[in-house]
Symmetry: C2
Subunit: 481 residues, 2 copies
């Protein structure tokens, strides 16, 4: 029997109950985001009065659909949710996303309603995501029941979250950070399908190479542990748990009705399951992205390569704090580097190339030289950039700067190519930072080829440390079995 | 006698020795950045052969200038630096920025050369920034000897750094983060003008309301302490010190020849001087920006206001970790909030407004209500946004979304206005985060009115904690005197 999330995320047809022709309502926006994406199946509105919704033939009830759909999405008032679920069951629809809020998270009455919902679902053989959630996203198929259009490239990072915001409102942020999702699930109150189910599903999902989890509280610790251990044996899992402080627990309880527990408890839970614990929202996605795209390092011996001393020193300091091993290079390697860089540069670890106009050094020669060294397990870089600097000069002082920006753009894009597959070729992870964003052609090209480029040196270092931690977990596990 | 940095940053005329008509060289780019800004004084190139450089009449040597300039910027080969300094002295020019590298940071020979330079300067009554630096920026006057054009609005944050990168390559990042600089100094090797001089200068600079310092190592601890204590008595100072780890110290030594010391030593030094210690590059600028723009809180009792539970819980958790006091609201306040928000929201602290279409609640009514409470010292917010969501929908599904985006833009811009001066009116700091960037009209408007809006909930919380720390330092100081 396929996993219920496999059916939900793989749905070949979807109905939206609660979409209308008013673009200012949640249900309409959710339907639009699937309808206008590259989703290929039928997208069917259910509306009590309208004949068409968003140009699609509408049906007054799920009972009236000519055929059952793989998935029905409910965005209806709380009081009618149970009726609509009965409609679904009557029409043979067994997989739902229930966006509607007003259940366990609101107190005694809501709790009773959620119990009724669960009972009804169990009787009808229904599995559902929610209630009080934003739903699901399959960036590959274009199925998107969230509030935000997903317009950038899909990628190998899976996402499951007890907060809808961390699945939807972040989509713009993730596109700016160059992070591509495979699938995402906002579990909401997780009355039926919960984080453990998501882990079970992601463990087997071939498009997903790492998983990011946002956790406010886990109800069934044992089930969660089993699913997590199974998943982390196959792919890395990063989790952000925010219920460990008094205020975090209070906030989470009113949000999804999650039962938070002491921080140390979750720390132990995660460690035992091989889950890497993130501390911030940036960690959650950036570590997930590094883990989804980079090879697992054999150890923590990293090299740092930049063309400016400040970021080199920041990276070195942050690397030490993060427990990475930044020992000086073997003299033979330093010697070879010294022969290539200006006298004012540094050939130790970090390598500081200083001001230099030959991009091949920073983009190819030095990274290859460093990663060929057996005593280096991974490479941190800062400062790669393309044409944006000269584009900026051109915009700023065009008449005095006789530069062909187009030529430089194509030149610099070309120069970034050796890095596209360098991690794969060498089997060693590369993580970068840049003070430029995707408006720079080289940053964009690197990100689009799944080389992580983050916004600050410390973010790159922290992501590398997460890779090393996962590598240790894997080795530990190999020793135990 | 005016402070040498007052003359350098206030220079009414500047010569660039080493600028040419080749836009690919450092000196040319430095000159361009002042020439093409709104700088009003003469910008004079010095070049051994060219008659004009970048359209300006050039002189073969500083000795040939018709009048002395307030400031000469040297971007010449290391071996000729001393000669050019002699030219400057001969022409009565006493303030220099020496960009050229190849001094103390390169070893014994460079150290000797730097000593000679110092000796020559002392004899000639010359004060200089550098060598091995990117120079100075006065965002107000348009003087900019750095490598990057400064094109966004100036602001109240001063910056002094032992890394040129953290003064120049970050300019694009700072503009994206909505952070405006007053003046910036890249001290390089700090052979003559050092971080202590910068602190002295910033203490008296009226345009600067907070100072961010990037420190790789301080040579004269006592002078630094005195200058820092004087500065922090007037305005907040944030410092990022990265020389405390073995690798950080090694990297710093090769970078600026800085003498790093144990982390605990600097920790104590900073604490004693009332400097707030940052841990990351993001901290350095974001804390500085919050401190430069927001009132000093009387205590650490903060409120959190959002319209989504995930960021509310993340902020709550991060606030507890950062030592902020997130106690529940007095019942009277919660009651008033409860009456205003949907049933699915939360009226405790954090306030989670949940899904709501009335921007006035989040932008005015609730912030004012909360900040009017005597038991609240500051406000953290997440989730304000303007037209970008609907602009996105329009781009994505224009023919199905009959929304007048222009109308929404003007409406939402209008709605953000109450927040522009709310911190000033209430005397309490407001720090925000948003997953949108400046392409959103409300985020942009808030940032342009100096309301800090950072990229993640934790960054906002950390900046608020820095404000509270500075407030405590000020109270401590008041008790002592």
């Amino acid at each position: 029997m396929p996993h219920p999330l496999e059916i939900i995320l793989g749905a070949r047809s979807v109905a939206f109950v609660g979409a209308s022709n008013n673009p200012m309502t949640m249900g309409t926006i959710q339907m639009l985001n699937t309808l206008k994406s590259h989703y290929r199946g039928p997208v069917i509105p259910v509306h009590p009065k309208e004949a068409t919704v968003l140009g699609q033939k509408a049906y007054p009830s799920l009972r009236d659909l000519p055929e059952p759909v793989d998935l029905a999405v409910l965005v209806v008032p709380t009081r009618v949710v149970l009726d609509v679920v009965q409609d679904a069951i009557a029409r043979g629809i067994q997989h739902l996303v229930i966006t509607t809020a007003g259940f366990r998270e609101t107190g005694t009455e809501g709790r009773a309603l959620e119990a009724e919902l669960l009972h009804l679902a169990a009787e009808g053989g229904v599995r559902f995501v929610g209630p009080n959630c934003i739903g699901v996203l399959n960036a590959e198929s274009g199925l998107n029941t969230t509030f935000f259009p997903y317009r950038h490239a899909s990628g190998p990072l899976g996402l499951a979250s007890q907060s809808g915001t961390y699945v939807t409102q972040v989509i713009d942020l993730l596109s700016r950070w160059g992070i591509g999702l495979s699938r995402a699930v906002s579990v909401g109150n997780a009355a039926n399908i919960d984080l453990a189910d998501c882990l079970d599903y992601f463990a087997d999902d071939e498009e997903t190479r790492a998983v990011s989890l946002y956790v406010e509280g886990v109800r069934d610790g044992r089930r969660f542990m089993q699913a997590a251990a199974r998943c982390t044996a196959r792919k890395p899992v990063v989790a952000l748990y925010v219920g460990g402080t008094e205020a975090g627990a209070r906030s989470g309880a009113s949000h999804t009705g999650a039962l938070a527990g002491p921080d140390a408890l979750y720390d132990g839970l995660f460690r035992q399951a091989g889950i890497i614990r993130a501390r911030t929202v940036a960690d959650l996605y950036q570590w997930g992205w590094a883990l989804a795209t980079q090879p697992v390092p054999r150890g923590g011996r990293v090299a740092i390569l930049t063309h400016s001393g400040g970021p080199a020193t920041s990276m070195a300091d942050a690397a030490c704090r993060a427990g990475l091993d930044l020992r000086p290079f073997p003299e033979s390697l330093s010697e070879r580097i010294r022969a290539l860089i200006p006298q004012t540069g540094s050939a130790e670890n970090p390598v500081d190339l200083t001001f230099n106009m030959d991009p091949r050094l920073l983009n190819q020669t030095l990274p290859e030289l460093i990663l060929a060294c057996e005593q280096i397990d991974g490479l941190l870089m800062h400062g790669l950039q393309g044409s944006s600097f000269f584009q900026g000069m051109k915009d700023f002082a065009g008449e005095l700067v006789p530069i062909e920006v187009e030529q430089l753009t194509s030149y610099t894009s070309h120069m970034a190519k050796p890095l596209f597959d360098m991690a794969e070729r060498t089997g060693k992870p590369i993580v970068m930072s840049s003070f430029y964003d995707r408006s720079d052609n080289v940053v964009r090209a690197l990100q689009d080829h799944r080389v992580p480029v983050f916004d600050t040196p410390e973010h790159a270092v922290r992501a590398m440390a997460a890779l090393v931690r996962y590598g240790r977990h894997r080795q530990q596990r190999a020793l135990e079995t």
